[in-house]
Amino acid sequence: MSIFEYNGSAVVAMVGKNCFAIASDRRLGVQLQTIATDFQRISKIHDRVFIALSGLATDVQTLYQRLVFRHKLYQLREERDMKPETFASLVSAILYEKRFGPYLCQPVIAGLGEDEKPFICTMDSIGAKELAKDFVVSGTASESLYGACEAMYKPDMEAEELFETISQALLSSVDRDCLSGWGGHVYVVTPTEIKERILKGRMD
């Protein structure tokens, strides 16, 4: 198994009508052994930008701490929050700085930009941005996730329907992956509120 599959992860983000949803699994493992079932993979940068990191768990935590630091500096200097597109460029630059000894994670970034327009993107471990209009996936279950999202996704879904869709896509994909699952964590973000939900999934 490759180093990206050492801890196991599944992350997905989807775009809706003036809202977005970002979801991850909750397993932390060491190859086949499950160590924890409450690992935080999704982190809030500010009220309208979320980042979820898949891949090696230590790099997930370190990279998140680095990014929070950089965003706080930005807030002090600019006296405002970062736009999601700007944040994505920041992450890409930080990852490429380590081009020859990279952070072994693949981020998924989701945010609400100007005019409440949702923004999602994913990157590989050295910062190649991939913008998408519908959904982005990452992690050991990514192939299953691509299939499930492609089948279940419709454009312009409202917040509740988006939550149902992303949850079903996540749970059905991680049920086909040995290394991810053991529950789910979903954030649905609209211009007025952030709803965080924990999913009951198969614990095997």
Partner: protein
């Protein structure tokens, strides 16, 4: 090119006619397969082994207690990280009073267990009495020993009831054969052993033993990524085996550890009452 297996021929009597009888040729001696004609025989074998990539991702267990033998297994088949099936039958019914468990390569286990069943039946016909668990496991172990180093992946337990009472043997692809009271095989076995060893008593009823077996498999599926699906539990008694239960471990989790209603729900109820 046929493999020379004369060193491993069993001294089990055939029909009594002597050396070769066309009808029984395939079964009376150790089965042998045609091997490929290739210049690089060693390299070919290594590539074949790598292709099959044996990794015993599973959890099976069996133990002897007062009322017989309890056998349990999960039902997940995995290929590296991908789950190829959640509904594999890992407890193989060799004959009405003997069970075998599957760990390792599915094809290997299925084929060799069926082959063992054939040999057991032939023994019955030749000797007018059922084969013992000890004898059956020895047949299997000797067959596997002759294929040592060729990349077979079989980690199986033979459980049954014969004239001497309940019998349990562990047999693997190296040709090893161990007699014992409690075994667990597969990547989830350490977790199953933890629960099984701490809860085991010889004097258990069938219900207590089946609950112990089910719990052990459940805990192994929780911790081990390569085990999951359905926890099947079988009991082998003096009249043969009987399947006791097949519970989905996803549901078992919430049965053993129910989720208390969320605080938000409670708050909403209170608001509605006002």
């Amino acid at each position: 090119m046929k493999l020379d297996t004369s060193g491993f021929e069993t001294s089990m009597p055939t029909i009594g006619f002597g050396s070769s009888n066309d009808m029984l040729d395939g079964f009376s001696t150790v089965p042998s397969f045609d091997l490929p004609r290739t210049t690089d025989f060693d390299g070919f074998q290594k590539e074949a082994v790598q292709m099959v990539k044996p990794a015993k991702g599973t959890t099976t267990l069996a133990f002897i207690f007062k009322e017989g033998v309890m056998v349990a297994a999960d039902s997940r088949a995995s290929m590296g990280g991908y789950i190829s099936s959640q509904s594999v039958k890992k407890i193989i019914e060799i004959n009405p009073y003997m069970l075998g468990t599957m760990a390792g390569g599915a094809a290997d286990c299925q084929f060799w267990h069926r082959n063992l069943g054939i040999k057991c039946r032939l023994h019955e016909l030749a000797n007018k009495r059922r084969i013992s668990v000890s004898g059956a496991s020895k047949l299997l172990a000797n067959m596997l020993y002759s294929y040592r180093g060729m990349g077979l992946s079989v980690g199986t337990m033979i459980a049954g009831w014969d004239e001497t009472g309940p019998g349990l043997y562990y047999v693997d692809n190296e040709g090893g054969r161990l007699k014992g009271d409690r075994f667990s095989v597969g990547s989830g076995s350490p977790y199953a052993y933890g629960v099984l060893d701490s809860g085991y008593k010889f004097d258990m009823t069938v219900e207590e033993a089946s609950e112990l077996a089910r719990r052990s498999i459940y805990h192994a599926t929780f911790r081990d990524g390569a085990s999951g699906g359905v926890a099947s539990v079988y009991h082998v008694g003096p009249n043969g085996w009987k399947k006791l239960s097949g519970d989905d471990v996803g549901e078992l989790h919430y049965h053993y550890y129910p989720v208390p209603p969320a605080i938000a729900e409670q708050v909403m109820e209170e608001a509605a009452a006002e």
